[in-house]
Amino acid sequence: MNVSSRLSVYESQIDALRLRLGLAGAARAGLVAAWIWGFTWGTLLLVLRLGGLGSAPWLLAATALGALAGVLGWRAYRSRPEALRVRALVDAHSACDGLLMAAAEAPLGGWDTRLPEPRPLPRVRLKDGRSGALAALALAYVLAATLVPVKPLGAAGRLDIASDVARLAGDLEALKEEGVLEPEREESLKDAVEALVRESSGSDPARTWEALDHVEAGVKAAADQAAEKGLATATSLADTEALASALAREGEQLEKDARSAAMQGLAEKVDEARSAAKAAAALPADVARAAREGSLSKEQLESLAAAASGAKKATLDSLKKLASRNLLDAKAVRRASQLDGAPQGQGLASFLDKNRNKEGVEGFCEANRPGKGGTNRGRGDAALAFDGETKEQKERFQEKALPGAEARSLHDSAVVALSTAEPEAAKGGAPAASTLGNTPAAGTNVAPRVLPRHRETVSRYFERTQ
């Protein structure tokens, strides 16, 4: 190396070393900024996520990190050792014996050629394990914070009734589709459900559950009403179907009075069904009028039976939908399933021959409902009536004494206890057993049978107590 250029090499070394020290300081400040940012942002992120805010302002956070690192880094770079001190470092490092330091204060004159050969600069090392570890920890903290599920802080205190609310909403929708609920009633129940969602609180679950039960009871009551109404309609339609098909089949065989009564009953059933449900509106109105006049033809009766069957099926389908949502109780479901079938519609003539009054038509209808046996196979399901005197009540039964209890043989018995009480016969059957089971009760003359293999045990029992 040209000796005259040594001073410029040294000057370059001084600048380079100072720059490296500044950059190392800035890098270290970056680590400090990273862990400060990490712990701060991680905590903020946790608060946001626990507060229910899933979308954190990452752009703002990144900007903050950049700004913090920039400010700290710039401050660290600015606070790097001053040039004169770095010059002293290089002077000592290269054994310049003060010449390099003196060059900063006065012209070296001819001494610049006597400067020693520059040595390689010392390496600048970042040795701040603590900041590095803290930065890594802070970044891990941020990562962990991002993995925390978004959950409102109050969520722990809220009651999860989402599934119940969804079920209730579905029930309401089903009731609405079936036209069970009136609009006002539906609105009030919906409002109640929404209020329940808003006000459900884990701090007072009983209140929430009570409110839920109350709404559910309202829905259930509406469903019950709908079920009762539907079942009544279906019953009327089943009766209409049974009576119409019976009249179509056997109407010609009936006497005039019976036929008139049957037609009258049919007209009432049609009116009853029409007024009960929309599904029964398919029944022609003029049919009821014609039935009262007794002028229904066989074709009209068959048509009426078919219309009643269709209307009944529609009514039962509606009930099945409610049943599929568990809105009907088991009894209603069973009744609906009983009604879901073809009526017998047989034996009208013979039945009405015996029961000419109005109840006779009603009884026929009842007996011919789907699932019943019909009138021709007896009325097994007829309601019990205790209003008439039975034949048996007039008859006297012959009294007969039952044989008394047979005295048991004493040859295999042993006296195990004596009683001073007066012997008396047992009244009304076997004596009550004592607490010992097989020992005779006090005041009885019935000695229990003690099997031989038990005698010794029983004797020991009394010896011990005595």
Binding site: R85, A88, L89, G98, L99, E105, P107, G109, W111, P122
Partner: protein, 349 residues
């Protein structure tokens, strides 16, 4: 002030004669006195720094011989005072005598003492009483003597080269701290090495040194002092000196542990001034135009050791002032470059 505006360093050509003179003087001293070249170098550095020197050693190790040899090399007036317990201040400084003038009047006339010289050898200075020792205070610091209200300047240059026996010896009085502080160097004169003793016994009758072949004239000495004035002391070196001296106080934040535990009083600002001058002198002896950290380290022990006062208990812990200075030199970073936190420098492999 810009770099170009400052006084330039002496050129190599300008500095060469002074450096050559110093080297020749040192070589002659080494020739006259066998062994201990480092001691001779420090003595010469002390003289170039215009400082007073205190040599301590057992009797017969060559303290006085060193000073006498130095006086022979320098073309300066030399006087010797043997300090004894009954020596009075007037015996050193001079005294007023009642004399009768030619006109028959009686008047007080000042009779200068041996201190009025260029080179004063105060032999066994610690055998005199503290009162007499302190008589040299003004002379050493101000280069003047004041008696009966009259101040008289001492000739220039003025050096006190004192020798003393270790204070453990009988009949010695420890020098007061103020007196000690006025000595630029306190140099330990160790017994001669066997090789040097052999050479001494074999080549010199009665141990008499050979006659000097070279004497430094007063002009040459002035030229040396002029060259000394042009030796630069860079600001980082000055800062290093200041930090060293400050750290010798137990209250300094940079003070090493041994200073905090064992030092009662640290070095004075006079020590810092002396350290700077001695570093310059060391640089001149090396033929360099500026003092460096190595120059400071070379003279630090001689300058600081006698100025640091230890706690009474430190003696029982085996702590010496020399050890304190060594700890100071190893604890204080030369460049004083405060690296950024968490950043370190590693020497290239």
């Amino acid at each position: 002030m810009k770099n170009e505006d400052r006084p330039a360093l002496p050129t190599p050509e300008e500095l060469a004669p002074a450096a050559e003179t110093a080297r020749r003087l040192l070589a002659e001293l080494d020739r006259l006195l066998l062994g201990r070249p480092e001691l001779h170098r420090l003595v010469l550095a002390g003289l170039l720094a215009k400082g007073h020197l205190l040599l301590e050693g057992l009797p017969g190790v060559g303290k006085t011989a060193l000073i006498v040899a130095l006086s022979k090399l320098l073309d300066l007036e030399f006087k010797r005072v043997q300090f004894t317990p009954d020596l009075m201040p007037g015996d050193i400084l001079g005294t007023h005598l009642l004399r009768e003038s030619a006109a028959g009047h009686r008047e007080m006339a000042f009779q200068p003492g041996p201190v009025f010289t260029n080179l004063l050898l105060a032999d066994e200075i610690n055998r005199a009483s503290p009162k007499t020792q302190s008589a040299l205070l003004e002379a050493m610091q101000e280069g003047a003597v004041t008696q009966l209200g009259t101040t008289r300047k001492l000739p220039r240059p003025f050096f006190v080269l004192a020798s003393q026996n270790p204070i453990e010896l009988e009949g010695t009085y420890p020098l007061p701290e103020a007196q000690l502080d006025r000595f630029l160097f306190k140099l330990e004169v160790a017994p001669a090495a066997t090789k040097d003793l052999e050479e001494l016994v074999a080549t010199r009758r009665r141990g008499e040194p050979p006659s000097p072949t070279f004497t430094l004239t007063r002009d040459s000495l002035d030229a040396l002092f002029a060259a000394m004035d042009r030796i630069a002391l860079p600001r980082p070196v000055a800062r290093y000196i200041a930090r060293l001296v400050s750290a010798s106080h137990a209250t300094s934040p940079e003070a090493p542990a041994v200073v905090k535990s064992a030092v009662a009083y640290g070095a004075s600002p006079r020590a810092a001034i002396g350290l700077a001058e001695a570093a310059r002198a060391n640089a001149l002896l090396a033929g360099r135009p500026a003092a460096g950290f190595a120059d400071v380290r070379a003279v630090a022990r001689a300058v600081l050791a006698h100025r640091v006062l230890l706690q009474p208990t430190a003696r029982f812990d085996g702590i010496t002032t020399a050890r304190v200075v060594t700890e100071l030199l190893s604890a204080i970073d030369e460049a004083g470059a405060v690296l950024p936190a968490g950043v370190a420098l590693e020497s290239p492999s």
